[in-house]
């Protein structure tokens, strides 16, 4: 395992250095823009997104009955994933006037349908779980 770790370390240092050297070839304004997006991503996650999720999680645990936690957690993670994937398209349907074949859906409608399906499945999963629990004597 030591050999594998050493190889990984060396390969990693080499690849990482190569990537950084390619980045350093960029012009200063481009590099600044990269730096903004790089640090912005970390800050947005660590200082905004993660604390917000923690707060919502704590609140949900107080409000929701315990039986709903598991299914609810799955629904919540799926919803967050859909929100993020939708973010670049949601308000941008038909944003390219010269090219109607890109961003050519009603994204708001699709997003709402997807989230409704996710939470319908959450309710369904919970109902099924209760039926199964009733059927198995403890």
């Amino acid at each position: 395992m030591t050999a594998v770790r050493v190889l990984l370390l060396l390969a990693g240092l080499w690849l990482g250095w190569y990537g950084l050297s390619l980045l350093l070839d960029l012009s200063t304004p481009d590099l600044l823009s990269v730096a903004v997006w790089f640090t912005g991503g970390i800050l947005l996650h660590d200082a905004v997104f993660a604390p917000l999720c923690a707060a919502v999680g704590i609140a949900a645990r107080r409000i929701l009955p315990r039986a709903w936690w598991a299914a609810g957690a799955c629904g919540a993670v799926c919803t967050v994933a859909l929100v993020l994937i939708a973010a670049p398209v949601l308000r941008r349907g038909h944003a390219m006037p010269d090219n109607p074949t890109v961003l050519d859906r009603d994204y708001m409608a699709g997003f709402i349908v997807a989230v409704v399906i996710v939470w319908a499945l959450v309710v369904l999963a919970e109902i099924i779980r209760r039926r199964i629990d009733k059927g198995t004597p403890r």
Partner: protein, 385 residues
């Protein structure tokens, strides 16, 4: 790795190396698929001298680029769950500490920052949204090495922890060894198994929401895909005739396609191209941005067209567009693609005259190539020696 004991208030015991290692493997696999498929696409467009990309099977590039974007999208929820599972470690004391610890934290910052950077800008790129200054392809390519490099360093550091975590059941709890998954009533948490299920389900949901832009039988579910697969003659467009500014030249009555083979040169009007023997091929057009569509193309076989001008003795072939500007106004077709029976100078698409947005009067369509290299609105074809 004692996330449970050292994190203080607000921590949940659903977090733990058992989760981190398992979600991390899925995330690492997705990142690796992204890296390899991205590298392939880069090499096809900027081939190093040793690189060889086949003309067949025709669907291979479609597959690799579809995988690139699908695995990138799946990686987004996996990354969030992984970061959630290690989040309390961010606040571990000392914040920086001795050099080795500082180095490890630095490599993790690089890994997290670069991964968030790649996934967020990559996703925005598929939606053709560019709220930054840098040129996306160059930066995406460079940052990919940073991600994979930092990932390898991270693995080198964590390998013993990962092995240990994988050898334990997901819901095992070293603090209370007897606790079974069903016996979690004393813990204020969902089980770790639920966290894993949530990670899997959210990756599936995210994938389903976009995969249909390249997988035809999933089109119905792709509610968040930037492309529905529709367009003129049933095929989406990446660069429109209007954006390219070629409409006038493409429709000009004196349009000629110049073909140069050795010291022979000949101009073809569209009618003359149509008078040559026609061939057809069912080929996908696949974009770097992850969408693709299969279509029936017909026109003149490239090798027949070259033969009509002079003897093709091998060599790459340069295709030049009527478009003056633009990054992709010319492309170099390797010899093995040039001689393929399915490589056409296409004149029609799905049974109709090629739409202006698809490259009228004629365009290149060759198997197993990125869409940006299938030059539209051809003005010249030249055999390079």
């Amino acid at each position: 790795m004692n996330t449970r004991t050292s994190t203080g208030a607000g921590s949940s015991t659903a977090r733990g190396p058992e989760i981190v290692a398992r979600v991390g493997i899925a995330l690492g696999a997705a990142v690796l698929v992204c890296f390899v498929t991205g590298l392939l696409s880069h090499w096809i467009q900027h081939p190093p001298h040793w690189f060889w990309w086949p003309a067949n099977p025709a669907w291979l590039y479609r597959l690799t680029q579809g995988l690139h974007v699908i695995s990138g999208v799946a990686a987004i929820p996996l990354l969030l769950v992984k970061l959630w599972a290690v989040y309390p470690r961010l606040f571990q004391r000392p914040l920086i500490g001795p050099p080795l610890r500082a180095l490890e934290r630095g490599s993790i910052a690089l890994l997290v920052g670069a991964t968030i950077f790649q996934l967020s800008t990559g996703l925005l790129n598929t939606a053709q949204y560019y709220p930054w200054k840098f040129f996306f392809p160059t930066t995406h390519y460079a940052m990919a090495y940073v991600v994979v490099g930092a990932l390898a360093v991270h693995l080198a550091v964590k390998l013993p922890v990962i092995r240990k975590a994988l050898s334990r059941p997901v819901d095992s709890d070293p603090d209370t060894p007897s606790a079974s998954p069903a016996d979690t009533s004393g813990h204020h948490r969902v089980s770790r198994r639920v966290v894993l299920v949530a990670a899997g389900l959210s990756a599936t949901a995210a994938t389903l929401a976009v995969a249909g832009q390249t997988v035809p039988f999933l089109r119905w579910a792709a509610v968040l895909a930037p492309r529905s697969g529709q367009g003129p003659q049933g095929v989406p467009v990446n660069r429109s005739a209007k954006a390219a500014g070629i409409s006038e030249h493409a429709r000009a009555l004196d349009y000629r396609l110049t073909v140069i083979v050795g010291d022979q040169r000949r101009g073809f009007s569209r009618a003359e191209l149509l008078a040559l023997p026609q061939a057809s091929a069912r080929l996908p057009i696949a974009c770097v941005e992850g969408w693709s569509a299969s279509a029936d193309w017909s026109g003149v076989r490239l090798r027949d067209l070259l033969a009509a001008v002079g003897a093709y003795r091998g060599g790459d072939v340069r295709f030049t567009s009527l478009e003056r500007g633009g990054l992709y106004n010319s492309s170099l077709l390797p010899q093995r693609h040039a001689v393929d029976t399915n490589t056409l100078v296409a004149l029609s698409l799905n049974g109709e005259t090629l739409d202006l947005d698809h490259g009228y009067p004629c365009r290149l369509i060759a198997p197993n190539r990125p869409g940006v290299l299938q030059t539209k609105w051809l003005s010249a074809i030249e055999v390079l020696t």
